[in-house]
């Protein structure tokens, strides 16, 4: 485990959190959805049309987001709720938000000393492709990419220094 004070001390130190973000993401998909995330193969360029976001506040301030396409989100809802992917309907976004919430929670629980000092916001889900996310200038960005059931997915954490 990395300590919060070490990692918050400088921008480059945040890179030490990438393995934690990877493991936190993989655990959520394995335990809650029963599937393994695999490394990206480079062939699938992601243009996300749905993004889930959870804010972090306290000792660690930032935003964790997951970007993928609607088909991936329908599959997530299907696996979480035990329904057909084409029946997911409006619960699709709620399920996606919960996945994001659990990745954020699992990630912060892996950083020694942070658990109590960091609160999570309610998840937000944005659909569409025509938007830009602007963070404060003093922000470090961590990003991990996976294939979920062969479909590309990006999980990123923007940390305010």
């Amino acid at each position: 485990m990395n300590s919060t004070s070490e990692a918050l001390a400088g921008g480059t130190a945040h890179q030490n959190w990438i393995p934690l973000l990877e493991v936190a993401s993989q655990e959520v998909f394995e335990l809650m959805l029963g599937c393994k995330l695999t490394p990206p193969d480079g062939a699938n360029e992601l243009r996300p049309d749905i993004t889930a976001m959870v804010g972090l506040a306290g000792q660690l301030c930032g935003v964790l987001s997951i970007g993928c396409d609607h088909k991936s989100v329908a599959l997530m809802a299907s696996k979480m709720l035990g329904i057909d992917a084409d029946q997911a309907g409006p619960e699709m976004c709620d399920a996606f938000g919960e996945v994001c919430n659990m990745v954020a929670g699992n990630f912060k629980n892996k950083i020694a000393g942070l658990g109590d000092g960091c609160m999570l916001s309610v998840p937000t889900v944005i659909t569409g492709t025509e938007y830009d996310l602007h963070s404060l200038t003093n922000t470090a960005r961590l990003e991990v990419k996976f294939l979920f059931e062969g479909l590309p997915m990006t999980i990123s954490l923007e940390v305010n220094n």
């Binding site: 335990l31 938000g97 659990m102 929670g105 629980n109 109590d116």
Partner: protein
């Protein structure tokens, strides 16, 4: 005791369904399932319904899970009902707070049906 009446308290309807599904996967027959979006709603349900098990999130609007657990002893229908917290809050401090408040078990999200079974079945066996 494999046939139970459960109360699931979580502000996410999707998470309530996932928890319900986990109970079934753990081998429990749910003769009734009540859902509440926060502690206050749950207290309202308990005022007129008997349950055998309560599964409860911590971070919820209106009344959070810790406050809900603290208020349970005052509810005639629920003072002996085991409560298991299911939450993303994984720090030791949260676990201690929850158990001190009266919770009998603590499951961190993400979780598997096996973890639910491991925490819940012994509590129901004791109650039976």
């Amino acid at each position: 005791m494999n046939s139970i009446r459960a109360l699931i308290v979580d502000d996410s309807s999707v998470m309530r369904k996932i928890v319900e599904r986990s109970l079934v996967q753990a081998g429990l027959e749910l003769v009734a399932v009540f859902g509440a979006g926060n502690g206050a709603e749950a207290l309202g349900i308990l005022a007129s319904n008997q349950v055998d098990l309560i599964l409860c999130d911590i971070n919820m609007p209106v009344m959070d899970g810790l406050e809900f657990v603290k208020q349970l002893p005052a509810v005639a229908n629920a003072k002996d009902v085991p409560v298991v917290m299911i939450t993303t809050e994984g720090s030791e401090a949260h676990v201690v707070q929850a158990l001190s408040a009266g919770a009998r078990g603590y499951i961190r999200k993400p979780f598997t049906p096996d973890q639910v079974k491991e925490h819940v079945i012994p509590l129901l066996a004791v109650k039976a």
